[in-house]
């Protein structure tokens, strides 16, 4: 794309951003397996529309199909509201071995099926990224934040100039270190929460309204 074409396209995108306040934003919830994406999606949808999005499990790759919930309205403390289409995506990974599921107690046949579906789920999550206007990246605050999945998602959002909000989840656990996540990616806003316990969830909603509104 030529310089002038690119400038025109970005100017148009800027004008849209300025004058399309209040429109529906399609936001994806991304992260590695078992970071708590579906727990967070359930929390958001339950709090604002009284329903849930999907089941959760201690075994990785419980979510193997992306799910979209349309028209979730979040109202911030100053009275302004934002309407979101929330997409709960399967966990991103660079490796999937059915033996890992067997170690968690699944029978071989079920483990193989889960592994196959999990690979399809990762592809689906990658494809969805192209159709989103922002991402909530969920990280497990008890784990090392410098994973390839985190680096790749953040790099893609930066390259496309789309809003990103990092959620340091599971801060109710004793060994959680959300400061490590902030230290790893200081250029992006971060909110520490426990999606399971609802800790600091109001701050998250304020930040969602601010970042994606």
């Amino acid at each position: 794309m030529g310089v002038f074409k690119r400038f025109k396209s970005n100017l148009s995108s800027l004008v849209n951003k300025l004058f399309k306040k209040g429109g529906v934003r399609r936001i994806g919830i991304y992260g590695p397996p078992n970071a708590g994406k579906t727990t967070l999606a359930n929390r958001i949808v339950r709090d604002w529309s009284g329903d849930v999005m999907g089941s959760v499990s201690h075994i990785e790759h419980e979510t193997r199909r992306a799910r979209r919930r349309e028209g979730v309205v979040i109202t911030s403390s100053n009275g302004s509201s934002i309407t979101l289409d929330i997409v709960d995506t399967p966990g991103l990974a660079t490796k999937i071995d059915f033996h890992d599921f067997m170690k968690k107690g699944l029978e071989e046949e079920e483990a193989r099926r889960r592994a196959k579906e999990a690979t399809e789920g990762v592809i689906e999550a990658v494809k969805w990224l192209e159709d989103l206007e922002g991402v909530i990246l969920v990280m497990d605050a008890t784990e090392d934040p410098f994973t390839q999945v985190n680096v790749t998602v953040i790099g893609n959002m930066e390259a496309r100039n789309l809003p990103l909000l990092i959620v340091a989840n599971k801060v109710d656990l004793e060994n959680a270190t959300p400061a490590a996540i902030k230290g790893a990616f200081p250029q992006h806003p971060m909110v520490s929460i426990s999606a399971l316990e609802g800790l600091n969830i109001d701050t998250l909603y304020e930040e969602i309204a601010k970042r994606f509104g």
Binding site: S9, K95, I123, V149, E158
Partner: protein
């Protein structure tokens, strides 16, 4: 594997990577990894190439044969300038990247400027 037992380590220079298209890079990585090699890419992959690599890896996972890749790269910390913001041409620097078979390489430590990995002896 070569006559001398061990794991083959390929170090790919920045200039070599610069001559390749995205698909050529991804194909080279997946072919090399499936042959059991560890690849060290001097200039790494762009974010979209990293995402494409994850996607292609998933299509090639085969139970009992290939369970995926271990890939580690330094996070980019370059902030865009005013002009690159206007032109949306963010000057994200691709950085050194290590890729290998998931069952042969394990990352021990990774931070902004250090990647420490161990290779399986078998």
């Amino acid at each position: 594997m070569n006559a001398m037992d061990g794991i083959q380590l390929d170090l790919i220079s920045e200039s070599k990577m610069a001559t390749m298209t995205s698909m050529e890079k991804i194909r080279m990585i997946l072919d090399g990894v499936q042959e059991g090699k560890i690849l060290v890419l001097e200039s790494g992959l762009t974010p979209s190439e990293q995402m494409k690599l994850i996607e292609m890896t998933m299509t090639e996972i085969t139970p009992d044969e290939f369970s995926g890749i271990e890939i580690e790269t330094y996070p980019s910390n370059k902030r865009p300038g005013f002009l690159s913001r206007i032109l949306k041409k963010r000057s994200i620097l691709t950085r050194l990247t290590v890729v290998g078979p998931a069952d042969k390489i394990k990352t021990v430590i990774k931070n902004k400027d250090l990647i420490s990995t161990i290779l399986a002896s078998e």
